[in-house]
């Protein structure tokens, strides 16, 4: 097979001497007051392309993407809902987009008001006492949660080393525990896919700092014994952290603060509809009960008599996780969304998300069984196991869905379900779309019987077909070589 030639990258379209965007209206000179040893020699090696070429190049790339404005994105645990366009207009308002973070609080009263209002709205949704919006993503929110736990125990003169997670936990939970210097202990879920109180009891000891739990869990199931779970951990002196990736099922219906959790994070880019941008930016605000509030990161947004200021003097704070105040542009989008929906719309959104997931599960479970029951919350995990006898794997189902113009569900996660297909349709899909998706899945099940080759060789209608991941792993090519 011929090597990649990179002719279709922006570098392949470069011609020496061609200009794109000009910064200066007349010729510029190399600096004379910086000694030569500090300066770069020779060319940087950047492409030389015109503005129209750049437009065509990136527009051409863009149409190779699946995206939510095109069709369903049923990725479980990712909450790919419609991203309202008004959110973008608000974030682009010059009064917000043009603010420099080193400006005085006086110059930023409107921005601080939004940060404060967003944090208060999240306090209401969570049933907690305080929120710091600072973490830049859910995983950084988890990191903050564990830093808070560390600071809390150290303040009490305790030293605890373990973080407990169920086997259905997101990978970020154990990864975060390691980053913060905790040891992860994974325990098995019960037969019903939920936490088994006896197993938890046997796993708990005085060295457990935090139990991290996703509610509803990654099987789309509510932890019906949540009160007992939290109480068990608290009795051993530990803290309970809720991974809020699945808050789209709970918002307006039930509050983690009422379950007894000490802290949780939100994913604004999931639950509150900010666009995923092909992998970010996200935002992972953390909500806490009052005993953890003194440890929240600096700065805090404080309101006093209708005026806002940023407060840095917090002696017990864990410090900062972001250069400034977190992903402010994402706060604007999420706050716009929450304001638009309001208390009534938020409640309706979660119940519709649950309705859609249950309806879809019902429509496909004849061919893709749902091992942990059919009554789910906002997502369900089905299995492609029955297709295996035809030589078809879940991966093939996922790839064939791309041919039907859909994105694939999350696959092979959680690990407790073999050949897992984790489906989250969200509330912004119509019944027709759900039906179309169900029919595609059922047709694929039939194809597995009739024409399994079609599945194992799918996709065929995408810009490229199955790609060679193995050779990329053996010999990664991460850049356009200098000579092309």
């Amino acid at each position: 097979m011929a090597a990649n030639d990179f002719s279709q990258t922006i570098y392949g379209k470069s011609r020496r001497g061609r200009h794109g965007y000009h910064i200066a209206s007349r010729p510029t000179e190399a600096p004379r007051d910086i000694p030569r040893e500090y300066l770069r020699e020779g060319r940087i090696g950047l492409p030389e392309v015109s503005e129209p070429q750049v437009m065509r190049h990136y527009v051409d790339l863009s149409i190779k993407n699946h995206h939510i404005d095109r069709d369903l994105f049923p990725l479980g645990s990712c909450t790919m809902k419609y991203n309202p366009k008004v959110n973008e207009d608000v974030a682009a308002m010059p009064g917000f987009a043009g603010l420099h973070p080193e400006q005085s609080d006086d110059d930023a009263q409107g921005a601080l008001a939004v940060m404060h209002a967003l944090e208060q709205a999240l306090v209401a949704v969570s049933g907690m006492d305080a929120v710091s919006a600072q973490p830049a993503a859910g995983a950084q929110g988890e990191m903050l949660g564990l830093l808070l736990a560390r600071a809390y125990f150290s303040d009490r003169g305790e030293s605890r080393h373990k973080v407990l997670v169920p086997d259905t936990a997101h990978g970020t939970n154990p990864a975060t525990a390691s980053i913060v210097g905790f040891e992860t202990k994974t325990f098995a879920s019960g037969k019903d896919g939920r936490v088994d109180l006896d197993v938890l009891r046997a796993t708990l000891d005085d060295d457990v700092a935090v139990l991290m739990l996703t509610v509803p869990n990654t099987l789309g199931l509510f932890e019906t014994q949540i009160g007992d779970i939290v109480e068990l951990v608290h009795k051993k002196g530990g803290l309970c952290y809720m991974d809020g990736a699945n808050m789209n099922a709970l918002m307006g219906q039930a509050r983690p603060g009422d379950f007894g959790f000490d802290m949780m994070h939100f994913n604004l880019h999931k639950t509150f509809s900010t666009p995923h941008g092909g992998g970010g930016p996200g935002s992972g605000p953390v909500a806490v009960r009052s005993h953890l509030e003194p440890f929240l990161p600096i700065p805090r947004v404080i309101e006093k008599d209708g005026a806002y200021h940023l407060e840095y003097q917090r002696p017990k704070s864990v410090g900062a996780l972001h250069s400034f105040f977190g992903n402010f542009g994402i706060y604007l989008r999420a706050y716009t969304y929450m304001t638009r929906l309001g208390s009534d719309g938020i409640r309706r959104a979660s119940s519709t998300a649950i309705l859609n997931a249950n309806y879809l599960a019902k429509r496909v479970s004849s061919h893709y069984p749902v091992p942990f029951g059919e009554r789910c919350m906002h997502e369900f995990v089905a299995t492609g196991e029955p297709l295996k006898k035809h030589g078809v794997k879940t991966l093939d189902v996922a790839k064939r869905l791309l041919d039907f113009g859909f994105y694939a569900p999350t696959i092979y996660f959680p690990l407790v379900v073999p050949e897992a297909l984790m489906v989250e349709p969200t509330e912004t899909e119509s019944r027709e779309t759900l039906d179309r998706f169900a029919e595609a899945l059922l047709r694929i099940a039939q194809e597995a019987v009739d024409t399994p080759d079609v599945l194992t060789s799918a996709p065929t209608r995408t810009p490229v077909r199955r790609v060679d991941e193995a050779s990329a792993n053996r010999n990664p090519i991460l850049t356009v070589p200098m000579d092309s």
Binding site: H22, T28, N65, A175, R466, D468, P476
Partner: protein, 453 residues
């Protein structure tokens, strides 16, 4: 309710298919004691025009730097964002796509990341770059963790001239890992005190961080330090401003093992300091210890060029507690903007950008240095940012200038305490015209008079 489609008939039919009477029945799985019966204590929904009016009023309560004459920098810079960059990245194909887990339906995002990696690699002259980090601060913090893991050592030396906000984040990140951050003093010239650094180097040192330009705008001389650093078995971590790499010697040419920085200045709005977008590049040997996503070129089954996420076994969703980092969602859309920005400016425009920024900053420094009572704090070469010694405390200078609609700079006392109270950090970019300089100089002169009066 906005953004959902169901008619009442739809809902009825869907419930019927489930054998349920009402949507409420779906929530029975939540124990009764936790079910909210009332609405949350926030306002009810509003129409789009109502929301726009409300948020518009809040926006009007801000006085954004872009509507004033601003000389603020400190890691966040006001550069022109070309219209083409905004246009491309507002496309839903980029904005509303997910992380490219299914490569066949994500080639656009994957190729953009690949081009981003290439841009960063060429700017830094390091062979490997990742798909982005949250910001320059967390990129530096992750580089410290990475260096500690590679060397199995536990001390990281950081200069006293490091961006204080980066230092704050690095402290939070290393707190759990028993890694010690030790500060190296700043010389009278404003750069790292090389003798002091040498004294601190020993077999416990995992890495030395060199930020250039440093927070005071001063250019460091990492090539004078790299032999000692490497001889001690430590890694050299360079924290660099990508715009400065248009003119300045790249990290790969002075032996940096890891380079990190902030890509906000590459086509992204300041947006009150977030979202930002960090980058990380490194030597080939360290690729498997690198955090974050990586995209590789590959082929599809028909032999067509294609792109795919690679080395995912480093990542949290596969490796769990053994992952190189917990990073998952990163800053894709901002990295896309940086990619298009660098492509659009290209070799010529990017070089122009650096030259114009430097020419502007140099001219402004000359004008301020000639004002009565004002001088430059350091004589060392700088790129587009420098420290001014004021005849009075910087806060009062800033206050005087603000009355004229000028943001004079960052008062260093904000981060370095009372001994820095007369010091002002001033930045110039290609957006400044001579008349902006006159405004600032006029305000500075008046502030000096206020002191005398």
């Amino acid at each position: 309710m906005p953004y959902t489609y169901h008619t009442d008939d739809d809902r009825r039919a869907m419930l019927e298919a489930l054998g349920l009477e009402s949507e409420d029945d779906l929530l029975d799985v939540i124990p009764d004691q936790y079910r909210l019966r009332a609405l949350l204590p926030i306002e009810r929904g509003r129409t789009e025009p109502e929301v726009l009016r409300m948020l518009g009023r809040l926006a009007d309560r801000n006085a954004p730097a872009t509507k004033l004459v601003s000389f603020l920098g400190g890691g966040i810079y006001d550069h022109t964002v070309p219209s083409a960059v905004k246009n491309i990245t507002s496309r839903p194909e980029f904005a509303t796509a997910y992380t490219p887990y299914q490569p066949e339906a994500s080639q656009g995002t994957l190729q953009v990341i690949f081009e981003f990696q290439t841009h960063i690699s060429r700017l830094t002259r390091l062979p490997v770059a990742n798909a982005s980090m949250y910001d320059g601060a967390s990129a530096l913090a992750e580089a410290c963790l990475m260096a500690a893991k590679i060397t199995r050592r536990e001390v990281v030396l950081v200069p006293g001239s490091l961006n204080p906000r980066y230092l704050r984040v690095a402290r939070s990140y290393v707190a759990g890992q028993k890694i010690e951050l030790k500060t190296i003093p700043v010389s009278s010239a404003g750069d790292i005190d090389a003798a002091a650094l040498k004294r601190e180097l020993n077999d416990r040192v995992a890495a030395v961080v060199v930020q250039t330009p440093n927070y005071f705008g001063v250019l460091e001389r990492p090539w004078d330090l790299q032999n000692d650093i490497h001889a001690a078995g430590a890694l050299l971590v360079a924290s660099v401003d990508p715009v400065s790499l248009s003119l300045l010697k790249p990290p790969g040419e002075y032996g940096a093992d890891i380079a990190v920085g902030e890509c906000q200045p590459l086509g992204n709005e300041m947006s009150y300091g977030g979202p930002l977008v960090g980058f990380m590049a490194c030597k080939q040997d360290y690729i498997r210890q690198m955090p974050g996503r990586l995209v590789s070129a590959t082929k599809d089954v028909d032999g067509r060029d294609a792109f795919v996420l690679t080395l995912q076994t480093r990542e949290q969703h596969i490796r769990r507690e053994k992952a190189t980092s917990n990073i998952c969602t990163n800053q894709g859309l901002l990295a896309t903007r940086a990619t298009v920005y660098v492509s659009l400016l290209g070799e010529h425009g990017f070089t122009e950008l650096g030259r114009v920024c430097h020419e502007r900053a140099h001219k402004l420094a000359g004008l301020i240095g000639a004002l009565d009572g004002y001088s430059l704090r350091y004589r060392a070469p700088f790129f587009r940012e420098f420290v001014v010694m004021c005849p009075t405390d910087a806060d009062s200078v800033i206050e005087t200038a603000r009355k004229d609609g000028v943001l004079a700079g960052i008062p260093l006392a904000r981060y370095f305490g009372a001994t820095a109270r007369n010091l002002l950090l001033v930045t110039a970019t290609e957006r400044h015209a001579d008349e902006d300089f006159e405004k600032l100089c006029g305000a500075l002169s008046r502030a000096a008079l206020v002191k005398v009066g």
